[in-house]
């Protein structure tokens, strides 16, 4: 395989080398957070974390552990850079992204350090492509200060039921209201059809209720009744991650900040995580 014939000497210049036999194990998960052009890459010996943010109200993180990679070498405690995620995804799919069984693009991602471009060696069927993507100074991701000790309500659901609900939610509504409570209605999404307000006065609203004893519900731990509203435009990107996932955990903290954690299995059945943090629109105490 051409990629492995690189000399050892080359390798020493890189502070980060990560290889995958199937580039889709990286590209699929990155697509789930690709709602903005730029992404902050942060690598540690544990693995790779890719962060995308929107106007300081929404943040998505994808975690790909070191074990997922066929090779993961890092020469510093922490390596960080920023790249254009759209360009990176285009490169990862440069061979056309064929889903034929047995056909996959191999990837070797190398980074020499501050100021150097991110180099991608991609190979499929004996053809090798080298891509060099300019990197930028990594911005500091917003710290949402979401810690597990502050979590008031937590629910873990199988994604299947949520996928269907989200796909039906009237995406043109501006706001989604989420209520989590130890008593009825337990877990509820409310969509207010603001779009139709003008033609028919208040045209009504819709809500989706999940009972705590549903067989879709894997964990239900709600300490207090909380209702929070979130801009639909901020939640919409998370539907991509939802579509890929098999389980999702929904947590809110005392400030009403929302954390959505998605468990994604890649092509090889390995587990990766995607996490979305979202600020509330305004607090509504009921």
């Amino acid at each position: 395989m051409p990629l492995s014939t690189q000399s050892q000497a080359d390798d020493e210049q890189y502070v980060l080398v990560a290889s995958l036999d199937n580039a889709r194990n990286l590209s699929n998960i990155l697509k789930a957070i690709a709602f903005k052009d730029h992404a902050i890459f942060s690598a540690t010996p544990n693995g790779l974390k890719v962060t995308v943010e929107d106007s300081k109200c929404l943040q998505a993180n994808a975690f790909i552990q070191a074990e997922i990679f066929q090779e993961f070498t890092i020469r510093e405690d922490s390596v960080g850079f920023q790249v254009n995620l759209t360009v990176l995804l285009d490169c990862l799919n440069i061979f056309g992204g064929s889903t034929a069984p047995g056909v996959s693009t191999a990837l070797r991602m190398c980074y020499k350090g501050y100021g150097y471009p991110l180099t991608l060696f991609l190979e499929e069927g004996g053809v090798v492509t080298v891509c060099k993507i300019n990197t930028q100074e990594p911005e500091e991701p917003v710290d949402f200060e979401f810690c597990s000790t502050n979590v008031t309500n937590k629910v873990i659901l199988q994604s299947e039921s949520l996928k269907e609900a989200f796909s039906e939610l009237d995406m043109t509504s501006e706001v989604l209201q989420i209520t989590m409570s130890p008593s009825q209605p337990y877990f509820r999404f409310v969509v207010k059809n603001l779009k139709l307000l003008s033609t028919f006065g208040n045209s009504g609203n819709a809500h989706y209720d999940y009972p705590k004893d549903s067989d879709m519900m894997e964990l239900f731990r709600c300490d207090k009744t909380q209702t929070n509203r979130y801009k639909m435009s901020l939640l919409k990107p998370s539907t991509k991650a939802l579509a890929l996932s098999c389980k999702v955990s929904v947590r809110t903290d005392s400030r009403g900040f929302l954390s959505l954690q998605y468990l994604v299995r890649n092509d090889d059945g390995q587990i990766c995580f995607v996490e979305y943090f979202c600020c509330p629109d305004e607090e509504v105490e009921e």
Binding site: S161, E164, A165, S167, E168, D170, N193, L196, T199, F200, G201, N202, S203, G204, N205, A206, H207, Y208, D209, Y210, P211, D213, S214, D215, M216
Partner: protein, 395 residues
């Protein structure tokens, strides 16, 4: 009002609502003793549809006691409840429809698998009664067929096509697109299909009429009928009188009533006259597809009439075909068509010089006083008359 629909009927209800959405923007809901009536009408009042679901369609059916309740809801809001038919089938166990008169809300609650409950509170407005006046059982021509036949016929017309003309003789039905006189004749394409009577389950013609109506509004019914497999019955009379298409089974009845173009009185008289003076058509010879034979047939079978002055014997490309002589042309075309084969003809039409008067008659909405009405969709309780657009029709 408190109704519950379970299992597969939820999908049927959803499909009915989607097909009503092809007619108008508002859904008129009226729970009646004989069932739940869902109706829609288009803005020009030239198309009306009504689905009546009998109490047996529901697993629970309770209507407001004492007073009649009627309302209208933005049909898009109701469609949002039943957005994905595939999902409905897979996950919805039952649908509960409840009326909250204080809050002016009609609540649709879908009980789904895994305990998920989807609740939609839809605002409604009080509405007047919406009933079209028609008595399909009195119409001269009645047909019934599997929806596949009509779907397969309609597929030959472009989706943008506005109007079609349906003409019948004792043994055949022709369906062709209707081209406006004002349209650019050099770019007009005419498509015509001929259906034989044995393709229908029931084919009863009393008057050799030709009616022109809007196809677009009908497509909703075709989709509904095809997916439920219910046969479609078609009723029409003379031009100007509406055409009614219905589907029915033991627990539901759907009627789509579309206005048809009316010729003015003059034409109608001439048509009738021509029917009497035409020589009997030669025996059907469908094996003869020869274009020359077609031309000759056009030449000789056309009986002169007061408004048939435009007909002459030029070749097909220049043949003049006016609306007034439409009936005659139908009969002549019959000779060269192959049985049960659908043909597409392309030929140019030119103005006959005097554009005929035509206007779509609005359906007459008003109080129903027909004593013999067996129509369960036509309860005689309403005496409210809605103004028709008849002022516009006077020529």
């Amino acid at each position: 009002m408190d109704c519950v629909v379970t299992g597969g009927n939820v999908k049927v209800l959803a499909k009915a609502i989607h097909s009503l959405s092809r007619i108008g923007d508002e859904l008129y809901v009226e729970p009646q003793e004989d069932g739940l009536a869902l109706r829609s009408v288009n803005s020009s009042r030239s198309a009306y549809a009504c689905f009546l679901f009998a109490p047996l369609f529901f697993s629970r059916y309770t209507i407001p006691s004492g007073h009649t309740f009627r309302c209208k809801i933005a049909i898009k809001s109701v469609q949002a409840v039943f957005r994905s038919l595939a999902t409905l089938e897979k996950t919805v166990e039952k649908c509960h429809i409840e009326l909250d008169e204080q809050k002016n809300h009609l609540t649709f609650t879908l009980h789904c698998k895994h305990g998920l409950m989807k609740t939609h509170n839809l605002s409604f407005q009080d509405s007047e009664s919406l009933q079209a006046v028609f008595d399909k059982d009195s119409y001269a021509n009645v047909f019934r067929s599997h929806p596949r036949l009509l779907v397969d016929t309609v597929v030959h017309f472009p989706p943008s096509l506005e109007e079609v003309t349906v003409s019948v003789s004792d043994e055949r039905m022709w369906v062709r697109n209707h081209v406006e006189e004002e349209a650019d004749q050099s770019k007009a394409m005419l498509t015509e299909l001929c259906l034989a009577s044995d393709e229908f389950d029931h084919f009863a013609v009393q008057a050799h009429n030709s009616v022109t109506f809007c196809l677009k509004e009908l497509r909703g019914l075709l989709v509904f009928a095809e997916s439920t497999g219910l046969p479609i019955s078609m009723y029409f009379d003379e031009p100007g009188s509406p055409i009614v298409l219905s589907v029915t089974d033991s627990v539901l009845e759907g009627n789509f009533v579309l206005a048809t173009l009316s010729d003015d009185h003059n034409h109608r008289k001439n048509n009738t006259k021509r029917e009497c003076t035409l020589p009997p058509p030669p025996p059907d010879d469908f094996m003869n597809d020869d274009i020359d034979a077609y031309l000759i047939a056009m030449d000789t079978s056309i009986a002169p009439g007061p408004s048939a002055t435009c007909l002459s014997t030029p070749p097909v490309a220049d043949s003049i075909c006016s609306k007034q002589s439409a009936a005659a042309n139908h009969r002549t075309r019959l000779h060269s068509e192959e049985e049960e084969e659908e043909e597409e003809e392309e030929y140019e039409t030119a103005d006959s010089g005097r554009p005929p008067n035509k206007k779509f008659c609005s359906l007459f909405f008003g109080s129903v006083l027909s004593p013999s009405s067996q129509m369960t969709t036509q309860p005689v309780t309403s005496q409210e008359v809605l103004a028709s657009d008849s002022e516009d029709d006077v020529q």
